[in-house]
């Protein structure tokens, strides 16, 4: 398998506080890696290091044989190829759904408006939101906003998609509609790194599970093994905290 993202000895610290401590991870093309862990374990920070939203103190992030963190050259060029979706959607409130989607393709990829719109409409249709193309973000439900945010990221044709707790702010009945979109993306063979609290979703979508605790990868493995036969006590404890038996 050809590796697309390679993280070596990644260390992130705020002053003396080490949030991430020597994390190694390799992601192959078409692979879906799901990261879980207790709140404050550094999993979201880790994701933000992958596209350079956070600077790092040690180690490196290599994307397609190019070191992208610490930066050399323009961060925008790299981020174009690494899409990210946030917990709080972050649609642009002054633009309609369609305008939200075509802004970056037109300005960054210099796509023609007609082509960008055509592509956007096709993507909206796929996630069942074609009728909302002229709505403003405030007129959408949380689940709808998040589906738009996902397809907006797809408009840039990213080679890797980072999803940061994308259902954490949603009402329970809206979680499903968003996760279904992600599961379909996985079936298409998209490369994704996902941080989530939805364990049953993680199990369904992941090729590989990672458990981060205290800024380190504590355990990793295939989902079956990871959930049914955890090796470390810390992962056992973490998984038990989700069950009621």
């Amino acid at each position: 398998m050809n590796e697309i993202l390679k993280v070596e000895n990644l260390t992130k610290a705020y002053d003396d506080l080490k949030v991430l401590d020597g994390v190694d991870l390799t992601v192959s093309k078409g692979e879906v890696v799901v990261i879980v862990g207790p709140s404050g374990c550094g999993k979201s920070t880790f994701l933000r290091c992958l596209n350079g939203l956070e600077d790092i103190q040690e180690g490196s992030v290599v994307f397609n044989d190019e070191v992208i963190n610490p930066f050399k050259g323009s961060p925008a060029k790299v981020r174009e190829k690494i899409g990210m979706v946030f917990q709080s959607y972050e649609l642009f409130p002054h633009k309609t759904v369609l305008q939200n989607m075509i802004l970056a393709p037109m300005k960054v990829r210099k796509a023609k408006k007609k082509d960008a719109e055509k592509e956007a409409l096709a993507l909206l249709d796929r996630v069942g939101l074609l009728s909302k193309k002229d709505s403003y973000p405030r007129q959408l439900s949380g689940g709808q906003k998040q589906r738009v945010a996902i397809v907006r990221a797809l408009m840039m044709h990213p080679e890797v998609l980072l999803l940061d707790e994308i259902t954490a702010a949603l009402d329970p009945e809206m979680v499903r509609e968003v996760l279904d979109v992600v599961i379909n993306l996985a079936k298409e063979g998209r490369t994704m790194v996902i941080v989530t609290h939805e364990l049953s979703f993680a199990r369904a979508v992941a090729d590989r599970m990672i458990f981060i605790d205290g800024g380190k990868i504590v355990e990793e493995g295939a989902p079956g093994e990871f959930f049914d036969d955890p090796k470390t006590d810390r992962l056992k404890k973490f998984l038990e905290s989700f069950s009621y038996n």
């Binding site: 596209n51 899409g83 709080s88 972050e90 642009f92 002054h94 802004l103 970056a104 960054v108 980072l162």
Partner: protein, 222 residues
Amino acid sequence: MGFEVLLKGNNMLRLLLGVWTALRISLVSVLISIVLGILIGSIMTLKNPVIKVITRGYLEFIRIMPQMVLLFIVYFGATKALGLNLPAEAASIIVFSLWGTAEMADLVRGALTGIPKIQYESSAALGLTTTQTYTYVIIPQVIRRLIPLSINLITRMIKTTSLIMMIGIVEVLKVGQQIIEANRKSSPNAAFGVYATVFLLYFAVCRPISLLSKRLEKKWEN
């Protein structure tokens, strides 16, 4: 009740011309305030401590000083300190611009810092450069927050212009006073009718503008 005096001669026209004087001074001052306010407000978002102290000091001083006091400082103080014989209208435009700039700068600063950091990040995640992020994402949002507030500033400016009669500018209130004086004998009750009219004229000018500001604010909420 004293309204009849306004129908005499060109009295009503004079009153309306007085309104125009007030409006003209407000509009000039608002334009200056918006330009300088955007400039200073943007500078205020910088983290430089010297700039912070200076701008905060300026803002705080203007905020706690009555506009009337500022008017007197500039109008009489400038004459005395600089030996400058400033025309009253220039003095009032300077004062209202100083005041409006402070108000506007604070609004601009608030609008700029009020855009959540993650909006910048999500733009970056889409591959937009810093310039593109500001041009297409941040500034349009800032402008939409600022337009209703700037319109609101216009009404506050217009109301404040009533003070300029105190340094001798003949605006609507002063014209009213003159009309009352001139007709003291023939219409002894003119004060009621004329001041009621001035009252309503201000209302007629300011109310539509504040309505517009409220409408836009509602329309562009989040």
